[in-house]
Symmetry: C2
Subunit: 355 residues, 2 copies
């Protein structure tokens, strides 16, 4: 059965990326060894790391003011590592809390310095983006989540502020042209638009670094920068899969093409959703995510029926995040329009029978 | 050309593990999706995590007093995470410094509490294990490195102490029968005897946990225990490769069989090394590692010649660690005796020509 993968992450990867990754397990670049058994300090892997870091810069269109790091862990690690590196004990950072990840991020920041929430959408279950807020004078940075994977909202503009911006872009990185130079630090777990689970990228403007705190060696961005992202054994295979995915993005036409496809998928999905009486969206129209569409059935008792139907038709990942419930369809870079067509057809049929 | 992989880590894995890993990238267990694109909260991956954790316990022969965690990062992460979780600011830990990794570990511990070095072999370039030492009263734990990957030494007995033992076993875990119940905490990066880079295991006696410090959520062992090692998205593929390797160890005959093979490899290598006039070992006989043999050429100018010769013969990883130089042959679980035979044959030939 052909599977349709709507997983929110780990999620669908391009078929050719998976084929290349599997081939490299047998033999990496014809060197006679598997990607799983080559040393991370060989010129072989050095070339992988260099190309991956350079491709991130190229796709982001950023210059030498920034450094790109591939680090162990995911975005949850960065919730801690960002304030550990950027925020001294007597300093204050501002956080926008538009969803579960932002809530977690601010909690970690408070272990290292002062953190104030300047905008929260908790009042309405994070079903929108609160774009108006005031940032107190003198804060070190303003942290926000560009796309809320769980709640299905997305920033379609930049937060209006003069404060250095720190962005968790885990679920919409490289999904659209984006002025990355407006950001002081960008981080993202790889397992949505950028590869497999087990690695995250941190892109940091060098002038953000240099606080008084003693930082554990392995957590210190500056150590990783000095070591060219080879401070310790990196997650070799996950970095390689990220490189393959970055190459694929570039080859397919870059961020403009990714956005074109995202818009086609989102238009098809949301237009259908809005037209069907059996379903309802969970997010206000203007703040809807192009990556994660959250919705539910109008009759709550039908939600499980729909999930079961999806499963039967080979559609995985349609259940909402365990913390919020509902339904969710994730539509990352590698998801073909045909998968969206398949689920909207199913939704239409379901709506006809259950409206 | 047939390659002989003497890498110190990432290092050689069993051929069937690599074949199974590659197959799972095409289709994981026949579910129609790749291991790279399945959700970590699916029952599919839940079964992987459960089996991997259970197999660690089974191979270690430990009971319910312990918890097994698969975490992001490598041993370098644990240099920090262990004291962060175990050592309160006003407490003291003892460290044995028998090599580069021990030196790094004690440095990180000092960021969290007091750490005293009770035994150091720095005086003789860490070419031996100092087994006699005194631990001050009241220390929280004694930390040691069971096998020094870089220097080529290994503990063949347990450090004599009543203090809870914390062991970095990155380079000799699962290489021999071992009374794991003598340890309070064990950690190891996977990329030597246990799988691919990108994951480490922590096995901790639960009664060691519970200090006053506020621990960042993602670093807190207790959070990971509560979440069944699924606190955040784990390094899915690396955990799966670890499971495949653990299954292989068990299937091949378990730790007794691993030790039998290690002894055969080590005997062949060290007996040859001791017999050849052109080479000399770097470690005293009684403390030599069965995993990493360090040595050099008697005439220093021939070292590079030998490395070049190895390369020419398809033998990789023979150069010593960049911090100490010399030569090193790593002989982990998956290394066939035939690879050791190949390099000793080359050494004999080289010695005949250059003695």
């Amino acid at each position: 059965m052909k599977m349709h993968n709507f997983n929110s992450g780990p999620s669908i990867l391009p078929k050719e990326v998976m084929e290349q990754a599997a081939a490299a397990i047998y033999d990496f670049n014809g060197v006679g060894l598997s990607i799983l058994e080559i040393g991370h300090r060989t010129s072989w892997f050095g070339a992988v790391m260099d190309e991956a870091r350079a491709l991130v810069k190229e796709l982001m269109g950023i210059g030498d003011a920034y450094e790109v790091l591939f680090l162990h862990g995911g975005a949850s690690t960065q919730f801690m590592q960002v304030p550990m590196n950027l925020l001294d004990t007597d300093e204050t950072a501002a956080y926008i809390d538009n969803g579960i990840w932002g809530t977690k991020a601010v909690k970690e920041a408070r272990l290292f310095g002062n953190a104030v929430v300047v905008s929260s959408t908790k009042d309405k279950n994070h079903s929108y983006i609160a774009k108006a807020f005031t940032v107190p004078a003198g804060v070190k940075y303003l942290h926000y989540t560009t796309n809320n994977t769980v709640e299905g909202t997305q920033w379609h503009s930049f937060p209006a502020t003069d404060v250095p911006l720190v962005a968790d872009m885990s679920s919409d990185i490289f999904s659209r042209p984006f002025d990355y130079s407006k950001l002081a630090l960008i981080y993202a777990g790889a397992q949505k638009n950028m590869g497999a689970a087990g690695v995250n990228i941190v892109v940091v403007k060098k002038d953000m670094l240099g606080i008084k705190r003693a930082i554990p060696a392995i957590m210190n961005y500056r150590n990783h920068i000095e070591a060219g992202s080879l401070l310790n054994t990196p997650p070799v295979f996950a970095v390689y899969v990220a490189l393959l995915t970055l190459r694929w993005i570039k080859r397919e036409g870059g961020l403009a093409e990714m956005e074109k496809r995202a818009k086609e998928r989102a238009a098809l999905f949301y237009d259908t959703l809005d037209a069907l009486p059996a379903f309802k969206p969970l997010v206000v129209k203007e703040d809807r995510s192009m990556m994660n569409a959250t919705f539910t059935t109008v009759r709550p008792e039908l939600e499980d029926t729909f999930v079961a139907l999806c499963k039967q038709e080979g559609m995985v990942g349609v259940k909402g995040h365990r913390s919020v419930g509902g339904l969710r369809v994730s539509m990352y870079n590698a998801l073909p329009l045909s998968s969206v067509q398949a689920i909207v057809d199913l939704m239409k049929d379901f709506s006809d029978k259950n409206a």
